[in-house]
Amino acid sequence: MYKGRGTLNVGHDNSCLNNMKELLKLEGIKKYFSAKGDNILRAVDNVSFSVKEGEGFGLVGESGCGKSTLARLILKLIPPTEGKIFFDDLDIVEAHGETLSKIRKGLQIIFQDPFASLNPRKRIVDAIGEALIVNKIVPKREVKDRIIELLKKVGLNGDTLYKYPHELSGGQRQRVCIARALSVNPRLIVADEPLSALDVSIQAQIINLLEDLQIDSNLSYLLISHNLQVIEHFSDTVAVMYLGRIVELSPTEDLFAEPLHPYTEALLSAVPVPEVDKRKKRIVLEGDVPSPLHIPSGCPFHPRCFKRFKPCEGEVPALKEVKRNRWVSCHLYA
């Protein structure tokens, strides 16, 4: 459904990306929450990856696998239990004062639910204006012009300026959220399921908008989604998450052409194919995703894996580069 406009990957294929600077870098990030009793909820466990300048990075996984927690960690909205995050070589975890405000300007987020991510008591002009003023992006007297410019950029007209969020539709609100994120001229936008709360027709509009913005402003995206079609269309690199870990990390084309991890294989087999005669065999996984409170021993995926064998129960497989640029955490490739 998103295929009408040519793919984003045109112009910067992977070989080109390899020379680009790493904009965001996660090193061994862990986030544990203490739950009832002495239980520990391992929401994010030992995640490392990097997003390069101008890249679209897709993060895919089922609900509850730690994607949104990861987004909040990157934005320094919650502190990690362990690990380091760098944005443009600045340490996010330790950042405060000037450095933090520099990072905040470079790194923005768009949330899933546009109904929840705008303050119901602030007019659009105040919501965006505040971002401009607090970060001293433009002088005070230019704030209004700048807001109109931003709204135009995301396809909204000046009428929106003095409206409250409840007067706007879901798509309009998501555009406002994007305008607010853009107001500080970020270099990387973390988009946490930006489409899943929207109608299908609106989804296409928003994704086209995000694409246009990427080309216009050389934005990088970290797109978090459970929608594989969106990820395939939108990103240059994909990371597949399962129970707080990355199980496969690979250039998008390669991953969709030849998934290596059994979990990725199962996910891809669930994507509906638009051609009638081309039937794929659907891999149905046994059981449900285990609770992150009781992560299975060894490979976390092994109780549901259709390719499991002896070593899977024993130890956690490390994320290793098994082919060029293709990282998998699975004993099959040990």
């Binding site: 934005l75 405000s101 949330f111 991510s117 119901p120 602030k122 971002a131 607090v134 409840h166 500080v184």
Partner: protein, 283 residues
């Protein structure tokens, strides 16, 4: 459309609350216009006219010193309203600060503040006031202060509860992500969304404070004669209840309707301000 307009539109639909609000407004006008509205000087003694029943000259009768009850009640409304508002103002201010910090920061601060709230709740307000009055002597300002200082706990708990849910909302995360400082997130982003129950608690609190003041004045520990207050008019009424019903009935009704009105306004506000009832795109 502005939010205040929406709230007003919804509030207007509730006729009983609207009538109560009108009554409250009239009370305000009466209190402010006391010098012009009262037919007599409230302390003017007229020994030839002691305990005269309501008639043309004195619509609500006279008291045991021949003073005009209507004039005394008009002046007394100033006491009731100022006690209500000052006491509740103090209570809300403290309650909002404690509740916001507790709910927003959580952790040990929350534990300490909430245990403090528990301790404060064990003080019986009335007896605390009685004790302080016994030591310092009766003073209306002291009473306002004590009612305020002992009445903020409900507000603190309400605000804290609102903060606990609001601080996890995406718009708060978004505000933080865009670089807005904690103090601004608390007071500009979260607090305005947490105020609906506070307004309700405040109007109910005004009613409660008026009751406490009337009670104290009735006992002779509040407003001291000759300054009139509804409570100390009632005291005179108690002494003469068998021969001068008007001395008890009119201030009693004034207290009853005032307290009732504040409660009804509070309830009307609660319904009108609940954003969950606004729906998506109300005209």
């Amino acid at each position: 459309m502005k939010l205040s307009k929406i709230i007003w539109k919804r509030f207007r639909k509730n006729k009983i609350s609207l009538a109560s609000a009108l009554f409250v407004v009239i009370l305000f006008v009466i209190a402010l216009g006391a010098p012009f509205l009262s037919p007599y000087d409230p302390s003017e003694i007229d020994v030839s006219n002691i305990l005269s029943p309501p008639d043309k000259a004195h619509p609500l009768g006279t008291d045991e010193l021949g003073r005009d009850v209507l004039s005394r009640m008009i002046w007394g409304s100033r006491i009731s309203l100022s006690v209500g508002f000052v006491a509740v103002g103090i209570a809300i201010l403290i309650g909002i600060i404690v509740g916001s910090l507790s709910g927003y920061y959580g952790g040990w601060l929350d534990t300490v503040l909430m245990r403090f709230v528990d301790i404060m709740l064990t003080f019986p307000t009335l007896f605390l006031i009685l004790a302080v009055v016994a030591i310092v002597g009766p003073s209306i300002f002291l009473i306002m202060l004590i009612i305020g200082l002992t009445g903020w706990m409900d507000v603190a708990r309400l605000v804290r509860a609102e903060f606990l849910t609001l601080k996890e909302r995406d718009f708060v995360w978004a505000a933080k992500a865009i670089g807005i400082k904690d103090i601004r997130v608390i007071f500009s982003h979260i607090l305005p969304n947490a105020l609906a129950p506070v307004f309700v608690a405040a109007t109910l609190g005004v009613a409660g404070a008026i009751l406490i003041e009337s009670g104290l004045s009735f006992l002779g520990l509040g407003v001291q004669p000759p300054t009139p207050s509804w409570g100390n008019i009632l005291t005179a009424g108690k002494d003469n209840i068998e021969i001068a019903w008007w001395l008890s009935v009119f201030p009693g009704l004034a207290i009853l309707f005032t307290v009732l009105s504040y409660n009804l306004v509070g309830e009307g506000l609660r319904d009108a301000m609940d954003p969950r009832l606004w729906g998506g795109t109300e005209e």
